[in-house]
Symmetry: C2
Subunit: 195 residues, 2 copies
């Protein structure tokens, strides 16, 4: 069930340092020698844990991707209104996003350096996730809870805004995902215009 239990402490440490390094310099510019130094071992020794540099990136990207996918499961099987579902989905999204922010950053910016078949698997999961959000919004439009000209554009706009929060949040806000989710819900539900 919880497949992270199989990851050794050393691999956890390596991936944590790798996430920081990949975020700071970008995946391509980060070197295995940089990473080894952060971990405190020699560069060649990394290959007793991973068969390639890319496999480290794969672990980081797919762990986060699965986190996002799992976060919608419970919401979709509830009896909540679409408005409540969308609120919950936004909150869950921000929670996953703000947990291990460095890994999230790599997930968001460096996934394009994956090679096939990982690249296409990843792209598929992204599209699936987007469609699950879209589905909530379309149902809400159909039953009159929501009013929006173009559900698809609303969905991608919402997800864009949610995903970018890491770029401007300060440290205290990162620790309070529900607070920031609430403010974003307010913006996307009400808009800015008076009356």
């Amino acid at each position: 069930m919880d497949n992270q239990i199989k990851v050794s402490p050393r691999k956890k440490q390596i991936e944590r340092e790798a996430a920081e390094l990949f975020m700071q310099r970008g995946y391509t510019a980060a070197t295995m020698r940089d990473l080894a130094q952060k971990v405190g071992i020699e560069a060649g020794s990394l290959y007793s844990h991973y068969k390639s540099k890319e496999s480290i990136l794969q672990n980081i990207c797919f762990r986060k991707a699965h986190g996002f996918m799992k976060s919608l499961d419970e919401i979709e099987h509830s009896n909540d209104s679409m408005q409540i579902r969308l609120e919950k989905a936004i909150k869950s999204h921000i929670q996953v996003l703000l947990k291990d922010p460095k890994e999230t950053s790599v997930f968001q910016l460096e996934w394009k350096h994956l090679s096939d078949p990982y690249l296409s698997d990843f792209a598929e999961m992204r599209k699936d996730y987007e469609n699950r959000f879209l589905s909530i919004i379309e149902k809400g439009v159909k039953n009159g809870e929501f009013s929006v000209e173009d559900p698809y554009i609303f969905t991608v706009t919402l997800l864009s805004a949610l995903n970018n929060t890491l770029q401007w949040l300060n440290k205290s806000e990162v620790k309070n995902p529900d607070l920031i989710a609430g403010k974003l819900i307010d913006i996307f539900f009400q808009g800015i215009k008076t009356k």
Copy 2:
């Protein structure tokens, strides 16, 4: 006044190909040999036009940055209401964004590979631009045109959403910036909720 007139056709060509290459592979992974091949010359010959790989990135990033800065000038010196100003600012932003989309993509994703002092200059321009949007919104809140709990969060959320449009727009939408700007204005002005 128009300082692009000084750029030779060859440099224009090189930067156009560079934008495509940097976008596809990322700045670090893209090589001068790749670029030379796309242009149709030898790798060493690129250095008769540019003193370094980074200087090509600098040209792309700062040309786009100046484009965004300039686009707000006229709006700020108008007599329009804040609501009209914000609408115009959003339209101008999308126009600049959708012109030469490959250069925009590099501007958005690869600027972090600039070195100082270019890096800090770039960051400062970004912050200035954000503050000019924020100023319009704060004035609109003060005079009752807008209602929003946290003007700063609204500003960065809006800009995040605008900047991400390139990731999901199709080709026909890219050619119609005002149409897509209108849909985004609707979302951020009215929100999604019924009543």
